[in-house]
Assembly symmetry: C2
């Protein structure tokens, strides 16, 4: 199974209108606060890894999960090893990480709104300090048709696939700091 | 709030009979498998800390949680800082810890049976490689009366408070290895 993802910087309002015209299925809005951690001795920037706690809040509940992403295993498809599990209490997990010598390195905070359309997920992210982004995403056994479909959908939404951004929000925020 | 705990090595069968005579409330039986981890660079034996994943299985479900215990902050009452939270998937958490450079150092595996009696918890532990233990435990604002009560209950169960063991199961198992 491949995950195909295309992200561009784009104002949300015209995209939201196009999604309504396409009759895309709104999946609600959440707030996500990701705290990325430094390892006690390893330099994650150098090893191309990341480790974070994500706290997600929707209308009525707050959930948390921890996610480890390993270095790229394949450059072309941007494939990484990824491990993720929910935790009952994000604050307690943060305390444990602190005790173990992990320190918060950066925070990515965003409002995320999701739509479903013919097997694709369209995500409208409003990222604190960065602005508005739109991501089109799908999973497929066949990478090329999935990528073609994602490109077509981006065009349907009035967006330019040539403007694809491959850098993560964390990477974009850290680049701003430089 | 203080936690008072008295643990002795004892055969379970006569204790179980006394618990029935006292009309103690049986709280069921679980299997607990604790995996203790070595820190990537810190020596927990030296810093008097511990970090583990506990996987607990009862009749119908498996749960997992991570627990960090800090060094003793007060010698007399054996008080430690402790942080614990449930995780959705213990195996995934183990994979994440592995990726972060933590390695499994020791496993403590036991069948634990609990009874409640007048504000006290009586725990019958059958620990793989160590044998049968009984623990009497309560929480209280007043440490001395709670301790007196725990001693009396141990005696009611036909056990000798003088035989109290202060070493953790992990400590006992590691001592056996020496």
């Amino acid at each position: 199974m491949y995950e195909v993802e295309l992200k561009v910087r784009a104002q949300h309002e015209p995209v939201r209108e196009r999604l309504a015209e396409l009759d895309a299925d709104p999946k609600g809005m959440v707030e996500q606060i990701d705290t990325y951690y430094d390892h006690p001795v390893r330099d994650f920037a150098e090893t191309d890894e990341s480790f974070r706690i994500r706290r997600e809040t929707d209308e009525d509940e707050e959930t948390a999960r921890v996610t480890y992403k390993g270095p790229l295993v394949e450059e072309a498809s941007k494939t990484r090893e990824e491990w993720e599990t929910g935790v009952d209490d994000g604050e307690t997990m943060a305390e444990i990480l602190d005790e173990l010598g992990f320190s918060p390195a950066a925070t990515v905070e965003k409002i995320r709104e999701r739509f479903e359309w013919k097997g694709y997920t369209v995500t409208l992210d409003n990222v604190v300090g960065l602005g508005e982004y739109v991501e089109v995403e799908t999973e497929s056994e066949a990478i090329e048709p999935a990528r073609e479909g994602a490109i077509e959908l981006l065009q349907e939404l009035g967006l330019d696939p040539e403007e694809q951004i491959r850098t993560s929000y964390l990477g974009l925020l850290l680049a701003e700091d430089d």
